[in-house]
């Protein structure tokens, strides 16, 4: 696969990163902004995600109907997402629509934020919040982030609470937008079949006049402490438990080892958690994973169990974590690496997957990593690096949150 990397910064500070693949059938483009719920103050919590919706409501030139219609005229697979740390807007199209796609993404990121659209979309956001309240896994995750990070900005909810969304004003959103959505705080990532000189010209044409922003991010040191919180909801049948403990950040070289460790301990199949908890049906699901964040990171446990077996499952999970510090073997590390290597190859064959990967990577590190570099780094991970990682991050302190029916049900 002849993948070729290109980089250019426009005079206004807009970064453009490209990975060209002449074998691709399609072209993917995404605009990634380094802003998310962690950059919000409490009174405007949820604004990054709400803004993601508002971007589709039109620019000075287009109405919301135009925005949706044009994306569909391009036959695009398009979407957007908001995390604690970034928001991204992207489209995957056939190469003949390259210019129209870049032009359209440019309109998306210069929204008019009309009051009437804001009022209508607020109701949709409230429906989205209600939808997630019907998802116990999501409720546990929100609570876990809230208590684990405490006063740290990562504790902020992505969706925000219904009450804060109700109160949010259009002008507060506009002010937040002006402050954070511009070159200097964003990158355009393009992948697949493309001509880089053309991409640069198009970016200049449609985004070259955007003003640069200076959007710093607060990086206070997280203050972790062990804590355990039990939430009850009598209408539930099952128990949903999550635990979170510090891990390496998205900038840390140890993140590759962390990903391997997550697979060794908690992959859905063939991991230590699988054999200790799922193979014998003590838990229906038992995952251990790694969330790299900006300047800090987390490992997490996630368990779904019968209410009367939750404590047993949690004890086993914690015991397995401690056991791994002492008896890790070379074979399981190699197997986990092979699984990750396969997923990298599969992702590399699809432009959309690579675009999301290199865009996200740039937001965190201002660095391009080819598939080969990732593969090479991955292959250097070994038992010793995992052991060192567990000395550096000994799964302590741990925050645990559970949600279930309370008294065990029949």
């Amino acid at each position: 696969m002849p993948l070729k990397f290109h980089y250019k910064q426009l005079p206004n500070g807009l970064d453009i990163v490209a990975e060209e693949n002449a074998d691709s059938h399609s072209f993917a483009a995404g605009l990634f902004v380094k802003t998310g719920s962690r950059d919000e103050d409490a009174p405007i919590n949820g604004v990054s995600h709400f803004l993601e919706h508002m971007m589709f409501k039109g620019s000075d030139k287009y109405t919301w109907e135009d925005v949706n219609r044009i994306f569909d005229e391009l036959g695009a697979r398009y979407n957007a997402f908001t995390s604690q740390e970034m928001t991204a807007y992207y489209a995957n199209v056939l190469p003949e629509f390259t210019e129209r796609t870049i032009e359209h993404l440019a309109h998306l990121l210069r929204p008019s934020l009309r009051q009437s659209d804001f009022d209508t979309e607020k109701k949709v956001i409230l429906e989205e919040i209600a939808m997630y309240l019907d998802d116990p896994g999501h409720r546990v995750y929100e609570k876990l982030m809230d208590v684990h990070f405490g006063n740290h900005p990562l504790s902020m909810s992505i969706l925000g609470a219904a009450e804060s969304i109700q109160k949010l004003k259009r002008d507060q959103m506009a002010e937040y937008f002006t402050r954070r959505y511009g070159p200097g705080n964003m990158v355009m990532a393009v992948t697949g079949r493309l001509d880089f000189d053309e991409i640069v010209k198009l970016a200049e044409k449609y985004m070259g006049s955007w003003p640069r922003v200076d959007a710093p991010r607060h990086q206070p040191e997280p203050m972790y402490k062990p804590q355990q919180i039990a939430m009850t909801d009598p209408k539930l049948n099952r128990m949903y438990t999550m635990g979170m403990t510090p891990g390496p950040s998205a900038q840390d070289d140890r993140r590759f080892a962390a990903r391997v460790l997550a697979d060794v301990i908690g992959d859905s199949d063939g991991s230590r958690f699988y054999w200790a908890l799922v193979d014998n049906a003590i838990a229906e699901d038992a995952d251990f994973g790694f969330y790299p964040h900006d300047a800090c990171g987390s490992f997490y446990i996630s368990l779904t169990t019968d209410p009367d077996r939750t404590q047993e499952a949690l004890d086993i999970a914690l015991k397995e974590l401690n056991k791994a510090k002492n008896d890790l073997n070379e074979d399981e590390v190699e197997r986990a690496k092979n699984k990750i290597a396969s997923s990298l190859v599969l992702q590399g064959e699809v432009p959309l997957g690579r675009m999301r990967s290199i865009g996200g990577q740039w937001i965190y590190n201002k660095e391009y990593r080819s598939l080969e570099m990732d593969m090479e780094t991955l292959m250097k991970v070994n038992r010793q690096s995992l052991q060192q990682l567990m000395r550096d991050y000994p799964f302590d302190p741990m925050t645990i949150v559970s949600l279930g029916p309370g008294e065990a049900k029949e």
């Binding site: 391009l74 398009y78 429906e127 989205e128 309240l133 116990p136 049906a281 229906e284 396969s342 599969l346």
Partner: protein, 411 residues
């Protein structure tokens, strides 16, 4: 069949399909066995699901752990699932690793150990999954919608029933393994940068002497009724809608698919425009085609706050009725562009292609090329779409709701 697509049916009834995708490093395999929930014995619903877990717990010369370790060592990205018609085993990785995995899959479907402790655990996990359905009302709605819409046994959930699962034994599972895991009507599809003759020789060696037996005919029963409400104290009311439509093999299939793109294809689709963008009644609303062998249907979903559920249902139905007035030239053009683009982009993923050629063969007895699909889409005219919509009025509807309050149904 050209240099890209290959098809061969062995004497025992197993069909091998392949798509050669030069330039790919990966390959993907999909194995479909005629052991779907529709062939679960009537008093043992959920048994295909238990079996699809149990067969992975040791096979051939490897015990459960050795088997998993070996497949993990190859780096295979694996999944298994049970649908209406089939039990499905899939994997993807570097192409040579997938080919090394094929003999293990032969062990799994031919020489599984089926151990007692494995059975106990597999059944227990199936019961746990079943208990979780009430916790996720959206998932529950989609299960109930199928149950109330399709004739039995095609509306069954693969998750089964509690009392059936409780009565299931290892002996019954063993007999079931012999009855439903066989070569007749099995489909093995591989897509990637592979050499077909080599693959064929490998597969012949692993599966050539596998027995086949004829399928037992199914007893078809009408669904329990058209309207159903499940009382649940959920945050939102979850609304499901369905009506019968043409089959996937019908000459008008792409006429219908394009019409459905207009209804719910992208963000300019009518449901999204009218129900979400204009009225802000929902976050999630969609309608799409559901293809079973012998049955084509349109299924739809909307989730909304309880006090706005009636308005959402009414609006959904009125959009479906408006459908008979036809679509515009612009709408059809966008639908075509979208459907063609997604067809072409499917050609970038070995997993998507392996799944698609297996599905094609099951539905039509042959693989369709991506070009053929593009031509079929291009051939659909506005007149045909509008004539079709005039003749095929949506309905009668099956309507299922999950939420705290029953809704008023349309007359």
């Amino acid at each position: 069949m050209g240099e890209r697509y290959f098809q061969h049916t062995f004497d025992n009834g197993l069909t091998l399909l392949a798509e050669k995708m030069p330039g790919m490093q990966s390959a993907a395999m999909t194995l479909l066995l005629p052991a779907g929930s529709s062939t679960d014995p009537v008093d043992r619903l959920g048994s295909a699901t238990v079996l699809s877990d149990l067969v992975l717990r040791g096979a051939g010369s490897r015990d459960s752990r050795q088997l998993t370790d070996y497949l993990d060592g190859l780096g295979l990205q694996r999944s298994s699932s049970v649908g209406i018609h089939h039990s499905r085993f899939s994997c993807a990785a570097l192409s040579e690793k997938v080919m090394q995995g094929v003999p293990v899959y032969a062990d799994i479907v031919r020489r599984a150990h089926l151990p007692q402790p494995g059975f106990d655990a597999a059944r227990n996990l199936a019961l746990q999954a079943l208990a979780g359905i009430d916790d996720e009302p959206r998932q529950k709605l989609l299960i109930k919608l199928r149950e109330w819409h399709f004739p039995s046994p095609f509306g069954r959930s693969s998750m089964g029933k509690k009392d059936n699962l409780e009565k299931l034994t290892l002996e019954l599972c063993k007999a079931d393994y012999g009855r439903r895991y066989h070569a007749r009507d099995a489909i093995l599809a591989i897509a990637g940068n592979i050499d077909f003759e080599t693959v064929k020789a490998d597969v012949a060696k692993q599966f050539g002497d596998w027995n086949g037996s004829a399928a037992t005919p199914l007893e078809i029963m009408p669904p329990p009724g058209n309207f159903h409400h499940e009382d649940q104290k959920s945050e939102q009311t979850h609304i499901g809608l369905a009506y019968e439509s043409i089959q996937e093999t019908d000459p008008d299939y792409y006429v219908l698919r394009l019409a459905l793109e207009v209804l719910s294809g992208g963000m300019s689709g009518r449901l999204f425009t009218e129900i979400r963008e204009k009225r802000a009644l929902v976050y999630n609303v969609w309608a799409g085609y559901s293809s079973l062998k012998g049955y084509g249907s349109v299924l739809g979903y909307a989730g909304t706050s309880n006090d706005r559920a009636q308005a959402t249902l009414d609006c959904f139905i009125s959009e479906l009725h408006r459908f008979t007035e036809g679509v515009s030239a612009d709408e059809l053009e966008r639908a075509k562009t979208g459907l063609k683009a997604s067809t072409i982009m499917q050609g970038e993923s070995t997993s998507a292609r392996a799944g698609a050629i297996a599905h094609d063969f099951f539905m039509r007895g042959r693989i369709r090329t991506l070009d053929e699909i593009k031509h079929e889409i291009d051939a659909v005219s506005l007149e045909r779409v509008n004539a079709y919509l005039k003749q095929h009025k949506p309905g009668p509807f099956t309507i299922v709701t999950v939420g705290p309050k029953e809704l008023k149904l349309p007359s």
